[in-house]
Amino acid sequence: MRIKNKKGQEEMVGFALIVIIVAVVGVVLLGFALRNPGESSEASSVEVNQFLESLAHVTSDCDYNSRNDFASMEELARECYTNPADTCTGSEENVCNALNESLKGIISKGLDIGTEKYYEGFEMNIGFEPKEVGEEEVEIISLKEGSCEGRKVGGEYLISSSRARGSIAMNLVLCLE
């Protein structure tokens, strides 16, 4: 009777061992899958970087210094940060509004964004990034359209600020299905 019990115990220990080994392998695989860049992480994209670099040079409809010299998007972002109350000559539109509207137009024409399209949505942020640690970042423009739950690709373009305490960063994130 004792020998029979002992044998049964040995079988159970063997079975438990196998279950433990399988569980350990499962946990290792699960850990590996979770450690990989997940669905919501953002990959840097050459296309987005090139788009931002080109966008920064595009001439807007806003001439804020009355010299018949229409500002580029880069200059408009700098002006929106340094003198946000400035207006465009002729139209009296605020420089930040002009920047906002031009960005929307360029993104909608330049990128294939919308439901059932290659990109489902986008998030664009323009902000001042200070050089000094401890200084606060300042948001200049923030645009968002569509849903941004899946895989993301993004890029950044830096504009030197006239105040030389940091730079203005244009960040664009495109959301895939």
Binding site: V25, L29, E53, H57, V58, T59, N68, D69, K109, G110
Partner: protein, 171 residues
């Protein structure tokens, strides 16, 4: 009788060992196929990025570049090149391309090819078109700049270079 029991035990053990071995082999195969598909995807992305950088370099050639900007094309130069019939063969040979087009994206322009008579009321410039099989084309965003005589200032717009050919697939 005892021997028979021992044999059954050995058989049981052998089956369990085989099951564990098959289990680990399957897990290993799954892991390897997952890694290989990730690597393949990564290599495609790297190849595509390299092609886009190459396209940007084409935009920086003296025949097309706009001074003081690394990502800008001189639209006036491109229109003149488009009007010059011999440029198609020259560019096809120089860059190893069988197709190259510049599209004006923003602001929106009237549809049509940018030749000297139609410019600036046009939307695209086909610099190279050898009429051969085009293959997979790649595109890169650029700024298209020109001197505006009326405003007496430079004006840039958003554009895209689209190209295909062996010259883009050598990386």
């Amino acid at each position: 009788m005892m021997n028979n029991k021992g044999q059954i035990k050995i058989q049981e053990m052998a089956f369990v060992l085989m099951a564990i071995f098959v289990f680990f082999a399957l897990v290993g195969l799954m892991f390897i196929s997952y890694r290989v598909s990730n690597l393949r995807e990564g290599s495609e992305v790297i190849k595509e990025d390299a092609t886009k950088e190459l396209l940007k370099n084409i935009a920086n050639t003296p025949e097309l570049s706009w001074a003081g900007c690394s990502n800008c094309i001189d639209l006036d130069k491109a229109v003149v090149l488009n009007g010059n019939g011999s440029s198609e063969e020259q560019y096809a040979g120089l860059f190893g391309l069988n197709y190259m087009k510049i599209e004006r994206i923003y602001p929106k322009r009237e549809d049509g090819e940018c030749i000297l008579g139609a410019y600036p009321r046009c939307s695209e410039l086909t610099l190279v078109d050898t009429k051969e099989v085009k293959g997979t084309s790649s595109s890169a965003f650029v700024a298209l700049c020109k001197w505006d005589g009326e405003l007496n200032t430079e004006v840039c717009e958003l554009g895209r270079v689209i190209a295909s050919g062996s010259g883009l697939n050598e990386n």
